[in-house]
């Protein structure tokens, strides 16, 4: 499935849930929010192969 991570599109093996996707990408749940089909979702959200998935980093420096 295609996932947008920090504005870049990457291909990943299909993950059944948001949590599994974040684990596969070694992404900290505190540092990212996940938007599926333009909706903010929780980590138990089930994913379909045609979903539009965006991982948005929430951490900023300074």
């Amino acid at each position: 499935m295609i996932v947008e991570l920090d504005g870049k599109k990457i291909t990943v093996d299909r993950a059944p849930t948001v949590l599994r996707l974040m684990e596969e990408l070694s992404i900290n749940r505190e540092a990212y929010l996940v938007i599926v089909n333009d909706r903010l979702v929780t980590e138990d959200h089930r994913l379909n192969k045609d979903d539009s998935v965006k991982l948005i980093k929430v951490v900023s420096g300074g």
Partner: protein, 314 residues
């Protein structure tokens, strides 16, 4: 996952609170948290005129939006440091929010005043970019607040900013800074405006979720000068701890607030010195900003642009 309040689909899982909320209930939760922080710590009095320091990022823009929703009518101040490909984009986001909430924003352009952006200026004065940026921002925020009749500066520092700064101060035992942090910096009549941080107990993740759910258009790119910032390393470490022990960051900061109150009382003695030119706090004779102005041979008042949304009365 279902919302613990209404039973609809949750959009965010707040492990630190053992709570999950839908969009509507999360927005209410966060706004209430900001209001409770302001009330509990008496950050803004009803008769005060607040000014929000806005950067174009999620925290300051959301805070500006929330304060105006909560009835704390606030204008903004934006400091344009002439960072290529970053400052003008940030300013656009600030103006978009000013239009949305119908509030004015004062804008200081570093390039117009000193003929240099922050990058070149920091090299000339032999400071790191972040240190020069902080010094200029502190001066300008204070200046516009005092000159334009405001009495409290509000900044968007969040829980993660404070926890990472605290961790850095502890790791290096920076005793001179360690007990100075807090929700409020008290005013010094004629010298220093009061400064408060209503997002002190709101996490970065919560603020980003609030911005997204309210369609707040914020700058997502990182400031190019903060890419190697140590604060990002500390935030990463704290987030790893938080992931395995939810609520740690909140306990770290709440514990600090409790302990620092006692430490501040014990240490309240250091008399502030004031700049001989502008009267603002200085560590020796003339403040860093006035020294720069002298060095570049610039005299007279600092100029601010004022952006006023269409339809806003004069």
């Amino acid at each position: 996952m279902k919302c613990r309040v209404c039973g609809n689909d949750a959009v965010i899982n707040l492990k630190a609170y053992n709570n999950a909320l839908c969009a509507r209930d999360f927005i209410a939760f966060l706004e209430n948290r900001v209001l409770k922080t302001i009330q509990r710590y008496r950050l803004i009095d009803k008769d005060e005129k607040p000014l929000v320091a806005v950067s174009g990022g999620k925290d300051s823009l959301s805070l500006w939006y929330i304060l105006n929703r909560l009835g704390f009518a606030s204008d903004g101040v934006y400091i344009d440091l002439s960072i290529e490909g970053y400052s003008s984009l940030s300013l656009d986001k600030v103006k978009t929010m000013a239009d949305r909430i119908q509030r004015r924003v004062f804008i200081f352009h570093l390039m117009e005043t000193l003929g240099k952006g922050i990058d070149k200026l920091s090299r000339v004065i032999k400071r790191s970019t972040c240190s020069a940026c902080g010094m200029i921002k502190r001066y300008i925020m204070n200046r516009v607040c005092m000159d334009r009749g405001y009495n409290v500066i509000i900044t968007g520092h969040n829980l993660d900013d404070e926890a990472s700064a605290l961790l850095g101060n502890i790791l290096y035992w920076k005793d001179e800074y360690l007990w100075k942090k807090g929700l409020e910096l008290k005013e010094s009549e004629g010298h220093l405006s009061k400064k408060v941080k209503p997002l002190f107990l709101c996490s970065e993740r919560e603020m980003a979720a609030y911005a997204i759910l309210n369609s707040i258009d914020y700058i997502r790119d990182e400031c190019p000068f903060s890419i190697d910032a140590k604060s990002l390393v500390y935030k990463d470490i704290l987030n790893r701890i938080e992931e395995s022990s939810p609520g740690t960051k909140l306990q770290f900061i709440k514990g600090y607030l409790k302990v620092s109150r006692a430490m501040k009382t014990q240490r309240r003695k250091d008399n502030l010195d004031y700049c001989a030119v502008c009267g603002y706090p200085a560590s020796g004779g003339i403040c860093s900003f006035c020294r720069i102005m002298e060095r570049f041979g610039i005299e007279g008042d600092i100029r601010f642009d004022e952006y006023k949304p269409e339809g806003l009365p004069t």
